[in-house]
Amino acid sequence: MPKSGERSTTAYKLLLVAGVVINSGAQLLMKQGVNSMGGVTLAGGAVATEIAGIFTNPYVLAGLCAIAVSLLIWLHVISRLDLSFAYPFVSISYILILLAGWLVFGEHATPARAAGVILIGAGVIIISRTER
C-alpha cells in the first residue's frame, strides 16, 4: 500500500462502515414503521390507503432518507475502492441486525448465531486487510 494514500484509505473504510450502519438503521426504522401500522398486506380493497399510510409514516420516511444518505456514501466509497473489497462489508448489517434483536427487541442469543456473528466479523476483518 502506498504510504501517501494510507490515511485517506482509512477514512474511506470508516465511511464504508458508517454507510452500512446507516443502512441497517434504515431497515430497522422501516420495520418499526410497518409494525406501528399494524402490518402491511397490500391485499384487498385497502391498497391505496395502505400505500398512503406507508409514505406518510414518520419511521418509514426517516428510513427512506437514511437509505438515500447511505446510497450517496456508497457511491462515494466505490468511486475509490474496489467493489470486491467494499461489497463484503455489507455483511456487517447481518451482525448489527442480530445485535439489535438481542439488545433492543430482547431476542435470544443462541450459540450458533453468536458463532455466525464471529465468522462474519472475522471475514470482514480479513477482507479489510486485502486492499492494495
Binding site: L72, Y87, V90, T110, G116, L119, I127
Partner: protein, 120 residues
C-alpha cells in the same frame, strides 16, 4: 414460484451493484468531500447506469418480499448471501479487480457465518 421470485431478487440485487459501479466508473467517480456536491449529484441522477442500478434494488426488494411471503425466511436469507460470491466474482471479471486468496477466504467466512445465523 417463490423460489423463482427469490432467484430474480438475487439476480436484480447483483445487477444493481454491477450497474452502480459501472455508472461510477463512467462518470469518473464522485467525491462529495471535495465540494461541487450539486453538480456531482446531477451527474449521478442523470447516469442511466446508476438510475438503472437503483431501480434494480427497488425491484429486487419487491421480489424479495414476494418470495418471503411464500417461503421460510430462514431459507431465503442464506440464499441471498450468494450475492457476496457473485459480486466479488463479477468484479474480477468485469472490472478486472485483483481478488487474492485472502479476499476469497474472507468471503467464504462471511457466507458460512450467514448460513449459521439463518440455520439457528
Amino acid at each position: 414460484m417463490e423460489f423463482g421470485f427469490l432467484t430474480v431478487s438475487i439476480i436484480l440485487g447483483f445487477c444493481g451493484q454491477i450497474l452502480l459501479k459501472t455508472g461510477i466508473l463512467r462518470i469518473g467517480g464522485v467525491n462529495f468531500a471535495r465540494g461541487g456536491a450539486v453538480r456531482q449529484l446531477l451527474s449521478v441522477l442523470t447516469s442511466p447506469h446508476i438510475v438503472g442500478g437503483v431501480s434494480c434494488f427497488a425491484a429486487s426488494m419487491i421480489f424479495y418480499l414476494a418470495a418471503i411471503s411464500g417461503i421460510d425466511i430462514s431459507m431465503a436469507y442464506p440464499m441471498v448471501s450468494v450475492n457476496f460470491v457473485l459480486v466479488v466474482l463479477f468484479s474480477r471479471i468485469f472490472f478486472r479487480e485483483k481478488v487474492n486468496a485472502l479476499r476469497w477466504c474472507g468471503v467464504s467466512l462471511i457466507v458460512a457465518g450467514v448460513f449459521l445465523i439463518s440455520r439457528s
